[in-house]
Every structure is written in C-alpha cells, then in structure tokens.
Symmetry: C2
Subunit: 205 residues, 2 copies
C-alpha cells in the first residue's frame, strides 16, 4: 500500500478518536492527536510555554470559559493571545504536512482535513452518531448524568464547530468537506474500522 | 441478506443516481426514482393530472422558473398548488414506506432518508463531489458550457436543498442526516458501489 494519511474529524462521544486509534493499530501506522502540540512546539522552536498557554486557552474555550460570553465566536481576551492561537494553528498545519510527507498516519482533529486539502493520498473521514447515542457513551465514560453529558457534548461540539469555521470558513459537519462520513451508531467501532480499511485497500492497493 | 432499503440523496452531477441504479442492478433489487410519482398516484387514487401538475410545478422550480424570483424559498404561486405539493409529499412518503416494507430496494431522492428515519434496515447514503468535477460531468453529459453547467448545478442543488429543508427542517448536505456519505470523485462510481455493497454485507449478512 502507498503512503497515505487518514484525517478524522469527530463528534464528541461518537468514538471517532477510538476508531482512529484502532485503525492506526490495525494498519501498524502512526497516530497523532494531542502529541501534535508537542511536536509543533519542538519543530517550530517556539517556547513550549507559549504553546502550553495557547493550548490551555483553547481548552478553556472548549469547556465554555469564554464561549458563553461570546456566543459562537472564539474571541480571545486580547490580541496577544489571538496571535498565539493563530501561530499555533499555523505551526500545527506545518507539522501535519510534514507528518503526511513522512509516512502513513492517522491524524485526529486539528482541521487536518482542511490543512491537507490540496495533498494527494489523503482520506478525510468524519465520524458522528445521534445525540442520544453520544449522551449514553459520554455519561458512561465520564460517570455523568445524561443532562450533564448532553451539556458537555453541546459545549464541545460547538467549540469544535467554531474552531473549524474560524480556520476553514466551512461548516464542520457538512459532508462535502470529507471523502467519507460514517455514523458509528449503526456499524459500531470495529466495523467502522473495517469499512475505512476497505476504502483504503480499494483506493491505494 | 435481510430485506433492506438504501436511500440515496445526491448532488447534481455527482453520479449518485447512476450509482444507485448500478447498486440495485448488482444486488438484483428494485430501484425507484421518478416512477415513484406514478406509484404514488396509483396508490392514492388521486387524479393523475393533479400529480402531474404538482410534479410539473416542482420541475419548474428545479429549473429556476420560480426560484429566481423567490430566492431560496419554494413559494408556490397559490395556496391550491401549495396543498397539491404537500399532498404529493405525503403520498410519496406513504409509498416509500410501503416499498420499504415490501422488499429490498434503492430509492433515489424524495427525502426518503427522512421518511424512513424511524424504520430499521435502512442505509441512508449521501453522494457528492467537488463543484469542479460536477461541472465537468454535467457539461459533458448535457453538452453545456462550463458556465452553463455551473449555473444549472447551483440551481438544482439549491432547489434540492430548499425542498429538503422545507420537508425535513434539516440541512440537506449535513452528514448527520445519513449513515454513509461518499465523495464519488475519489472512488469513482464502480468503487462507490463496491463500498456500499461492503457496508450492506457487513451490516445485514
């Protein structure tokens, strides 16, 4: 099989992250998620604390520290932090392109589908499930009440959607941004991995 | 394999209709598109001319007779026709449910994914491709200039999107309405059929 990159965008609670990890393991290729931050920092030579700060800010946004005040828009408190966030995105994009050039891998999140939109040998996947199923998964996983799980899902998906719109100008859950969109509810995680593997074989073998 | 229904929504020029027909042929099951109108008429007992009229109106809308005047909304010229359209949708929905209950089939368009949203053994598929690819396909197929093809695609996709939003309250190209969304550009028609067949085997065999 040729070198390829699978990018995975995913709704919170849909199992997309797990599916990405299972796929990478089965194919014996690299898998990237939060480690990307560290890699971005190492490659760029930028002070790791700056990245830490920008990432922390993004986390605060993800968990609603700012998004409740500013509706759907990510508005950093000051232009200094704004620059940090944008710099972080640009360095992550550089790292994502380098990882894609280096060998086969799975990259979860970080608008990797958009970053690699003009590259060849990229399979851009979006994983999602019904709200009911996601609530059940998140409530079980984090020991939350269904109501708490639902609020967490709404916050995180809204933040992901806002982040995606801010950096790509596109709607995060619009099918047209991806090559393959899969509802994990009907297939289950294992068979989602089967189907993505089948797609890769058909395309790259 | 159990009885199942595959619903296919598709962008104009993406080949979704062809893919649906190829899939049905390969699986040896029924395929429905425009014939549904006739079936709806026969089953309902409603005057075939009324259906003809409503369908004609919809066609006029699809090709821009009304949508240029009314932007994104389908606004029928008078409430009489409005009722015909809504009746037509309801009868089509009834027929779609009957077809699903009767045996395995492929149904293209007509919001069949939404109509069958609470039924089991339904695979809801959305097929699309980049605008560039659709323009090329439509220009070749209908012997149009690229500019004419692009305008035709924009009109028809806008009408489909409006129709879908009107009857379902959802966005037509949002991945979450479907179980499987496929970009036909990367795979080509034949391999899209392979992948849908693989999905059905995994799920229903």
């Amino acid at each position: 099989m040729k070198n390829f990159t699978v990018t995975i965008a995913r709704g919170f609670g849909s199992g997309g992250r797990t599916i990405g990890k299972m796929l990478a393991k089965r194919l014996g290729i690299e898998w990237y998620d939060q480690d990307l931050i560290k890699l971005a920092s190492e490659e760029s030579g930028i002070n790791i604390e700056l990245f830490g700060k920008a990432d922390e800010h993004k986390k605060a946004t993800l968990f609603g520290k700012y998004d409740r005040n500013f509706g759907d828009k990510i508005i950093p408190p000051d232009s200094g932090e704004f620059t940090s966030d944008d710099n972080l995105f640009n360095y992550q994009a550089k790292v994502i392109k380098a990882l894609h050039a280096k060998g086969s891998c799975v990259i979860v999140g970080r608008c990797a589908d958009y970053v690699l939109r003009e590259e060849t040998n990229v399979l851009r996947v979006f994983i999602y499930a019904s709200k009911e199923r996601c609530v059940q998964t998140v409530a079980d996983l984090y020991n939350l009440s269904p109501r708490e799980a639902e609020r967490q899902i709404e916050r995180i998906d809204r933040a992901r959607s806002t982040y995606y719109r801010y950096y790509t100008g596109q709607e995060w859950d619009n099918a047209r941004n991806y090559d393959l969109c899969l509802n994990s509810e009907q297939l289950g995680f294992e068979r989602c991995v089967d189907l993505i593997e089948h797609y890769l074989k058909v395309l790259y073998e």
